[in-house]
């Protein structure tokens, strides 16, 4: 076997080629890591947003969009009185009517964005325990509380949504009473108001849905039974987790597009890499032939070339990981139903590392084969 030091010294024979190999592999690894982090972040926010303990009662036929669903404003009272298995916190049933409504929001500074509003009752905090006021108070009439990442989803300045500031929902002015956190969920990008205010704003008599928190996921069947028996209410019961999982399927094409884009750019970079490596190996054809003349087998020489390419690609992977941690980690990405934070998790790092290793190994095979194929007498003369 040829020593590793031979492979390492070969790396530095042509600095510009080394730079190309390291840079190219860093680009590919970074793209793959970005795609993995994006998809992971989106998947995670959708998975975390729905609880399997929560049952949503919504209008039959509106399973794909709560915003389009309409149920009677009285449903909440009927449901919490009829359905067994609804959690009670200090005697209060964990159930809330909600209106989900998307509309423009204007800030006092004249900025504007599409916001997701949720009209709720105070019991909503029992139904969605991950929602926690971090500052201010729960909204009264004429007030809203904003999720910590709402500014990101809206694409406006963060301080436009500070407590005490006024915002315009359609044409009515509301005051921000509080800021809430709901880590890792889409709710954190929403704006919550009292349900009565939103009913006026959306000019509707009905609400979008009723959300019930059950004592245990298995009591979902009680909510399901209720929806089946009360044909007059035209309801469907859905687990909240299933609702968001279905939304996840809706975003699948976007996820595929992300991979496709990353894949296409990566393919370009890989072919560039093949050429760079080929040029590097081809400039040493006579030397590779000399090693064979001395008695090194072609596999031993191939292994050394592969080491060379692997080390360059691992350096690229290291660079890509550092860049990803610096530039991508913790970045929030807005999408149509909220915003999510992407993280360079250990999983993403492993995907990056595997990509780097595969690039190093597979990338060296075609150029190495091409340079080790020629007949020995001919290669020795070149």
């Amino acid at each position: 076997m040829l020593p590793l030091s031979y492979a390492l010294r070969n790396l530095f024979r042509d600095k510009s080629r080394l730079l190309q190999t390291v840079g190219g592999s860093a680009l590919v690894v970074m793209l793959v890591m970005a795609a993995a982090a994006l998809n992971g972040g989106m998947k995670q926010v959708l998975a975390a947003s729905g609880s399997s303990r929560n049952a949503i009662l919504l209008g039959a036929g509106s399973e794909e969009s709560i915003q389009r669903s309409e149920v009677s404003a009285q449903l909440s009272g009927i449901a919490e009185a009829t359905i067994r298995g609804v959690s009670k916190v200090m005697g209060r049933p964990a159930a809330t009517a909600e209106i989900h409504y998307m509309s423009a929001l204007h800030t006092a500074d004249g900025e504007k964005g599409q916001a997701l509003f949720r009209g709720v009752t105070p019991s909503a905090l029992l139904v969605h325990p991950e929602v926690r006021l971090i500052d201010g108070t729960f909204p009264q009439a004429g007030e809203v509380m904003v999720g910590k990442l709402a500014w990101r989803k809206l694409g406006i300045a963060e301080d436009a949504l500070m407590i005490g500031k006024k915002v315009l929902l359609d044409k009515s002015e509301m005051t921000i009473s509080g800021v809430f956190a709901a880590p890792g969920t889409v709710m954190e990008s929403e704006i919550w108001a009292v349900i009565g205010d939103l009913r006026m704003l959306a000019q509707r008599e009905t609400v979008s849905c009723v959300v019930l928190r059950m004592d245990h996921p298995k009591y979902f069947s009680d909510a399901e039974l209720f929806a089946q028996q009360r044909l007059d209410l035209e309801l469907t019961a859905m687990r909240e987790s299933d609702y968001y999982a279905a939304l996840g399927d809706f975003y699948k094409p976007i996820r595929i597009m992300t991979w496709l884009t990353a894949g296409l750019v990566a393919a370009g970079a890989i072919f560039g890499g093949f050429n760079t490596l080929y040029a590097a190996f081809a400039s040493r054809i006579r030397e590779l032939a000399t090693l064979q003349a001395i008695g090194f087998g072609r596999f031993a020489i191939f292994f050394s070339l592969m080491q060379e390419s692997l080390v360059a690609c691992l350096a690229g992977t290291l660079l890509a990981s550092a860049l990803a941690l610096w530039l991508l980690d913790g970045m929030t990405i807005p999408f149509s139903i909220g915003a999510f934070t992407i993280g360079i998790t250990p999983g993403v790092a492993v995907i990056g590392l595997v990509t780097g290793i595969l690039l190093g190994i597979l990338g060296s095979i075609p150029p190495a084969i091409r340079c080790l194929m020629p007949a020995l007498p001919k290669a020795l003369r070149s």
């Binding site: 030397e287 003349a293 001395i294 008695g295 087998g297 072609r298 007949a375 007498p377 003369r381």
Partner: protein, 226 residues
């Protein structure tokens, strides 16, 4: 040591066939220093490549040290070369990223020798060519003559019975060439190496025990000098 029996080598180039060697017979004794001369294109390098197992003959038998290498596969030839042959090139073919010592050590990496043994053998080989004080220099820091001496050290370090050299002095000045030729003579006489050397230079050929002339793929003359 070397017995070639009616060996031929031909290459197909597109539609026509080139036959640089045809029905050639050759006998080289153990420890003999043979010079091969002949005009350009007469098949000297081709013959040397066959003898050294770099290439295989199209037909005929090629028995070296009792083994018929004509029937060896590429893989077998590679392993055989590592044990039996040291090749010395006109343009030295040293590995530029390795020091003189590391270049000389290379053939030993194929063996199962320990690091200490390799070190000792490589140092010995460098001493034989008189370059022990240059062992940490890279090829770019050596003169042509020194490079060729390192290449000779590399060729002999694994103690092969056969050394082949293709115009080893072709790129050197007179003084360096003389030194190389004296070195080859010494290896043949004192260490019993069988040496086949291709050369264009009659003065170089004079260093050998015997000179053969190749012309159009045939051995023409046989002039022994004493």
């Amino acid at each position: 040591m070397i017995t070639c029996k009616s060996i031929s080598k031909s290459y197909t180039k597109g539609t026509n066939i080139v036959t640089p060697l045809e029905n050639l017979d050759l006998e080289v004794g153990r420890g003999e220093f043979l010079a091969l001369m002949g005009p350009s294109g007469s098949g000297k390098t081709t013959l040397l490549n066959l003898i050294s197992g770099i290439d295989s003959p199209s037909s005929g038998s090629l028995i070296i040290d009792g083994e018929n290498i004509a029937s060896f596969s590429r893989k077998q030839l590679t392993a055989w070369r590592a044990r039996k042959v040291g090749y010395i090139f006109q343009l030295y073919h040293l590995i530029p990223v390795l020091t003189a010592f590391e270049n000389v050590e290379l053939p030993l990496l194929i063996t199962s020798m320990s690091k200490a043994e390799r070190r000792q053998k490589a140092e010995e080989a460098l001493e034989i060519v008189g370059l022990q004080d240059r062992s940490h220099h890279t090829p770019s820091e050596l003169s042509g003559g020194q490079e060729q001496r390192v290449a000779i050290a590399r060729a002999l370090v694994a103690d092969p019975a056969l050394l082949v050299a293709d115009e080893p002095t072709g790129d050197l000045d007179r003084e360096s060439a003389t030194m190389i030729l004296e070195l080859l003579q010494k290896l043949s006489r004192e260490r019993g190496k069988t040496i086949v050397m291709v050369t264009h230079d009659a003065r170089a050929a004079a260093a050998a025990d015997r000179t053969l002339h190749l012309e159009k793929g045939k051995l023409l003359e046989n002039e022994p000098h004493l």
